[in-house]
Symmetry: none
């Protein structure tokens, strides 16, 4: 029965990969099954139909990200450190599984039409992390009173797009466009996170007037 779980694991991983690469409609059940080392019918036995498979993947991905972000928020009390921790936690989450960013964005782009309430709650957990960091900072007079939702969009959007653009950047490089134009196709995720963190620090923090 341990084996049973392992099979499920492999199926879900293969599905995440496929959905990320091809979207829901483009992904093929057969290919997912083969990639997981099972028969097509086996996939149905272990997980259910395509919709259910997608749902499971979504819940798992979003809740994993939510877990990581909640841990980041809990790691410190300082608002600026919190933002920094959030940014780097999200960056790591995406780096550990680029499929996460892809699927999340693809599904958001579709308007969340097929997203279950279960998934919506994970989405909310994620947002709450940013919201809490910002609110506590504002209340404590450390952060400018910006809309936490905008901060969230900025953080998630920037990092997601960075991950997503990986293959395209590689293509830019192979076309020889990058060098000429200053695009560095090999820029590591960590630097992007550092940039974003610095941007938040300089752009959201209340300027420290030196006590006269």
């Amino acid at each position: 029965m341990d084996e049973k779980l392992a099979v499920r694991r492999r199926i879900l991983d293969a599905a995440a990969e496929a959905f990320a690469r091809e979207g829901f409609a483009g992904a093929r059940v057969e290919r997912i099954a083969r990639a997981a080392g099972v028969n097509k019918a086996g996939l149905y036995y272990h997980v259910g139909n395509k919709g259910r498979l997608f749902e499971e993947v979504m819940v798992e991905l979003f809740s994993e990200v939510a877990d990581r972000l909640e841990r980041a928020v809990a790691s410190t009390d300082d608002p600026l450190h919190r933002l920094d921790a959030l940014v780097h936690a999200l960056a790591e989450a995406f780096e550990d599984g680029p499929a996460r960013a892809r699927i999340m964005l693809i599904e958001v782009a579709r308007g969340g039409v097929n997203v279950s309430e279960k998934v919506m709650h994970q989405v909310e957990r994620i947002f709450q992390c940013t919201a809490q960091a910002v609110r506590s900072g504002v209340e404590g007079g450390r952060l400018l009173p910006e809309n936490p939702f905008f901060v969230h969009m900025c953080m998630v959007g920037s990092l997601s797009l960075f991950v997503l653009s990986g293959p395209m950047r590689a293509r830019v490089a192979s076309l020889g466009l990058g060098r000429k134009n200053g695009i560095d196709p090999t820029a590591p995720m960590g630097e992007m996170a550092d940039f974003l963190s610095a941007l938040f620090r300089r752009g959201l923090a209340v300027p420290q007037g030196k006590p006269q």
Copy 2:
């Protein structure tokens, strides 16, 4: 022959809408045709196959965005004004046609596998706008020496995600989650752009030491 162009126009618009909502694989040629008021065969007569249709849509969307951004860059010499103009131009482009952001992101998420070189050149034009604004600012000592690519990711990612999240925010609202959690599902695009512009101003500008 004016009518001919109009038909093409309607087809391309319907296609953009469909691809944005469902992705390439999920979009249905039949539905696109009907939405454009043509027969399925008529669509093939006017545009060609699904791939070509997608390609046309992509080129158009990306080049329209590139045009707007280039105009924004050309509108001023001041680096900070330029960034502000860029952010708002992009926001307007997305507001005028939300499908733009969706399709762009979906395709980037797929790794740009199906993107032609023609489209890649538009992508590059878009990036060059940000790059030029940042570089000129850095060279003139007005902006901190940050990687223009990161700035670009931040700008495009933030605004794209904001647009994309529209329907999902509406859903959050209808589930009654928004109120409780501080998400404002009705936040207008303009405010998001203002936030981003301010973030860049505070976070990228070289602090002005008062001349002694």
Copy 3:
């Protein structure tokens, strides 16, 4: 109105070519029209629908062949000369328009399902040529009493297959198989006709006992 006939001519020629190469079902009205330098709708105006086009081509092809064979039969009274004349007349007909042999065979192969009575009468005229040559020879004691139908099958079948096999022989040659195996892909039609004529002379003629 002379031009009108010329257009019809070009259409019928293009159609013959197309039907020969691709069969009735495989031929494309559009391609035929373009090859004839007309619009698709123009083809309909000049000839009618695909079935009618095919019919016209068939009647023309078969009646041309019938004309040639009847002239050959009329050219001499000697049975053996007649067979020789028939064989060479048919060979020339096929050489002048290889499409003839192809279409004839393809249609015969289809069982003549779509062949009109008009065409059937041409088929009969053709057969009558061989039949008359054989019958007169048999009656005059110059030919062995073989079934004229078999002679006809032999003549038409041999020459048709020879013409048809042209492209395939070329392919055999390009695969380097011919040389090795004694197939001469460049054998001219005339030699095939000579062979057949000789075969008939030796195989059908009543042996001439030398007058004592």
Copy 4:
């Protein structure tokens, strides 16, 4: 698993029938499937696409004929007997499966454009049978030195056309044309083979000078 082969068998048979009657382009996958007692999708499951189906049919047909002819050649050493055996073997092959002659001719008529190398090798095997019979006869002084290729064309062309013309002859009969004109629509294949065999014997053999 025996059933699996049986299904394949039925599909290939139905396909041979259809391709023979309507050519490659004219044959309908749906009809083939139904004739074989399978679903359209089932056909794809068992064989693959239309092209592959055609290829399989071709290889099978040609190789079966090649097998029969090789057996005929091996059955005797006498050149004239060999030719006789070849003619009758081919006649039987065509009689057992009239589709064979039809498909072979239709494909040859198309110029063998779609014929794979695999099929070409079967074609060559077939030709080699005639070639060997003729060559051995010529070398042994029993046959006149005629081009084996011409003999081959004559044998295959005659018998093929005879088979093909079956339905058309039936039509001639039903139109009442046959009686009047001496066409015997009911002539059996065997007689045609006998005729051809006799023609070869009289027309190709070296005349036996009486031993002095």
